[in-house]
Symmetry: C2
Amino acid sequence: MSGTRQPGTPSSPARDRLLAAAYDLLAERGVGEASLRELAAGLGTSHRMLIYHFGSREGLLAQVVELAEERQREAFADLTGAAGGRTDQAARAFWQRLADPSLAPAERLFFELYGQALQGRPWAAGMLPGVVERWLPPLTELFAEGGAVPPPVAAARARLALATARGLLLDLLATGDRAAVEAAAEQFMGLFPHGGGEPGGSTSPAGPAAGSRSGA
Amino acid sequence: MSGTRQPGTPSSPARDRLLAAAYDLLAERGVGEASLRELAAGLGTSHRMLIYHFGSREGLLAQVVELAEERQREAFADLTGAAGGRTDQAARAFWQRLADPSLAPAERLFFELYGQALQGRPWAAGMLPGVVERWLPPLTELFAEGGAVPPPVAAARARLALATARGLLLDLLATGDRAAVEAAAEQFMGLFPHGGGEPGGSTSPAGPAAGSRSGA
DNA sequence: GCGGTGTTGTACCGTGCGGTACATGAGCGG
DNA sequence: CCGCTCATGTACCGCACGGTACAACACCGC
């Protein structure tokens, strides 16, 4: 046995370091045109090593997708944690986090991967199953306001808030017009009829939140 | 002079046919991994001809992006036309059109191009300048309800509706759960406080609307 | 010190890529 | 009928790609 490692997910420390660094690098450069050799050069290793650890280029990309998914999961955990208190406060806080410029590269990567997954790229397929569904239960609970809102309405609002946050993020990334996007988010949060605060417009959604920076 | 044609946009009929067909083909297969040769084969021509008409692969992709932009412009014209009547009716009609399954390939292409543009791919850069801005004036007018809504509020709601429609479209394309997405859209349209109808939640937004099908 | 196991470097392979050279027609003005 | 331009086909170039072969090295248990 010479060339490649196990095809599964053996998760050696070196591999994990490489993967995290590759994630950051791809967030900056985009996946589309990145060759193994370019990537390896940017990572300070050789394309040989990438194949050794990930089996193939597609294997590496699939692992990056899985990592993006995992980062989303972490963001989601943060949300459920933060959502203990007032709904509108949780919403605003989460939106503030999403709009943090330091997360922009990860979010651009998220949307690139999303687009590739929609086009049926096999290595990106892992993105799709959870990309909406995973967010719905906690968001639905958040919007239920402890039972004051009927479950079907809460579910629809959860889905709506998720979509809205992602759409606003797309806008923000494309235009960079932070003020205008914030105003739109504010509009959304102000639309809900209930008493105390607003329910949490742009609360949760989009990104592959936890943004690790410079990598390994 | 043997090989390539003018680099500009000379727009011969043959070229236009090729471009429209390439658009449809890329909508089905995705841009990411399409080589000139694959593309040409699917178009019933040779990669030589693509280079002759478009100068280079990037030139072709840039033209496809421009065409996508143009299709958006047509969709936008449809919107302004349809928006003459009641706001909520226009909104629902436009959303119905967006959700039409036959538009899905064009919309997937739109989001793939959007993602590539966000990652700085030069041939996709033409996407960004108008992708939000172009929709705002007519939407703002729509949401102003003839002056009943203050301009800043109308502007924020326009931006919000655009973002929401795109987010919901992303959801629909990923999950295929038409009923749930429709329910979320309905929620949005029902949120606005004003009298008569709802202002037009998912009214306008996303796609490269006018969907030409099987191409030349 | 030896044999393994995990890791890395160097060198290479075949393929398909984007792009070019050049010849060949089709259609038309003169 | 010539000559010109537009269009297209065939053949090729050099290159970078993903992937593999194989040898070497580090480290560890014994």
